[in-house]
Symmetry: D2
Subunit: 143 residues, 4 copies
């Protein structure tokens, strides 16, 4: 299990009534929405995506997600999501996410996500840009 | 890659405008919604869940998802989802899902999902019921 | 109340598990998703939007919605949505929607929606195109 | 147009990537999700719903929504939602919502929503509880 100290970046997200499903828990699909939201803020924080840009300029596409559910999230859970890059390849990166109860520090879900660097304008994969490699490598101590 | 002949159960799902994200593709979180919807219809088909029951009676909770994206789905894609159980354990099952282009047969995403048998009334895991083991085992030739 | 004979166009939509909220009913926001989906198919049916086009070419934006809930929809409800234009103005149209139980014919929700004709490429309102006025007027007997 | 001073209660909500649709704006259905989320926090604030309660205890169901879109919301918009009760009837209340750009104060959407007091345990409408009438009346100066 990951502790809440293992990440260099966290993004808090309010659970919405609309995230809860008929069984009273946060719906399984919403975890990917939370990780997506935290990922965008991670890129904003690192200056690799800017508020004035279009999402067509964001330059990543998901290839693979391994998602593990550890404890049910309810609408009362104060959630924060950790984001950390663990590997930077030629045309892909591996990003780790953990969803925590921000008060207790309990890890409630985690994911290992493979992102491919991608040009939405041409619809093709591209090499990881040098700026991404430098900034992410320096921030998360990976390569 | 899975072919469209590998499953004994398929559920067609219309992609909605609301499933498409700002980058023009089906959003990554929606794949889990599609697999969830197909899974419920698989259980209905096998008589393990009935329309008059509450979702509190459905008796499964997700533990782990390994999801692979193979090709972008757009709102024009005619989607059908295959569902197949590959393993029935003591308190868990492994279910395979593939999302296909129903016209071309192209596999566009796949997932291996571990479900834990769970009693929503008590909030506890339970052994896989004998009826589930028999019906699913007979239908998908697994155990 | 509208009867199921009052519309010239219907689009059936499967209620998804993910449309149901923590109180066991279809969530109030999802009605707009259902009306949106039916509206797109209405435009496809009339040839005013084509599958090969981008949503940036669809040419309408919502201005006003008056939505009335008549009976709760559950995941078991077989839903079909009626779409009918009642008024074509200079730069706007009024579209009526009803959500029916497709088996019983019961009207479960209705909406009156004002759409403004809009060019997403320039971000400006535009006059209702002559082709829209002709085709919709002929189909729904309005102007 | 409502000014940002007209409400006694505001709830800020972060726009998610997943709230944005294929046309780059917040999707029309999401406005109801935002109003729903703000409404729950309004009831929490007034002590009429408590975090330890179930949503089956919330005691209101939507009857009617009149929603007006004033300006497109994008993922960069810092959103806050105002909630104010304008009328308390025998078995219903009218609640006004405005969605503001929290920085500029621009009103971007508004809604007038009729809520019916409802017992989810019995599935029946009930009179507005005296506690609701007192607390809401005192807070928003309505009756």
């Amino acid at each position: 299990m990951a502790a809440m100290t293992e990440f260099n970046f966290y993004h808090p997200i309010e659970v919405r009534y609309a995230d809860i499903d008929a069984q009273g828990h946060m719906n399984n699909a919403k975890y990917l929405t939370f990780f997506e939201q935290a990922r965008i803020h991670y890129l904003l924080h690192l200056g690799l995506f800017r508020r004035e840009q279009s999402f067509d300029d964001i330059g990543i596409i998901l290839a693979d997600v391994h998602l593990t559910f550890l404890a049910p999230v309810t609408w009362q859970t104060p959630v924060t999501v950790g984001v950390k890059t663990s590997r930077i390849g030629n045309k892909s990166m591996t990003v780790l996410n953990s969803l925590f109860n921000a008060e207790s520090g309990e890890e409630m879900a985690r994911a290992e996500i493979v992102l491919v660097t991608y040009d939405y304008h041409t619809g093709k994969t591209v090499p990881v840009p040098a700026e991404w490699r430098e900034k992410i490598g320096a921030f998360d101590g990976c390569r």
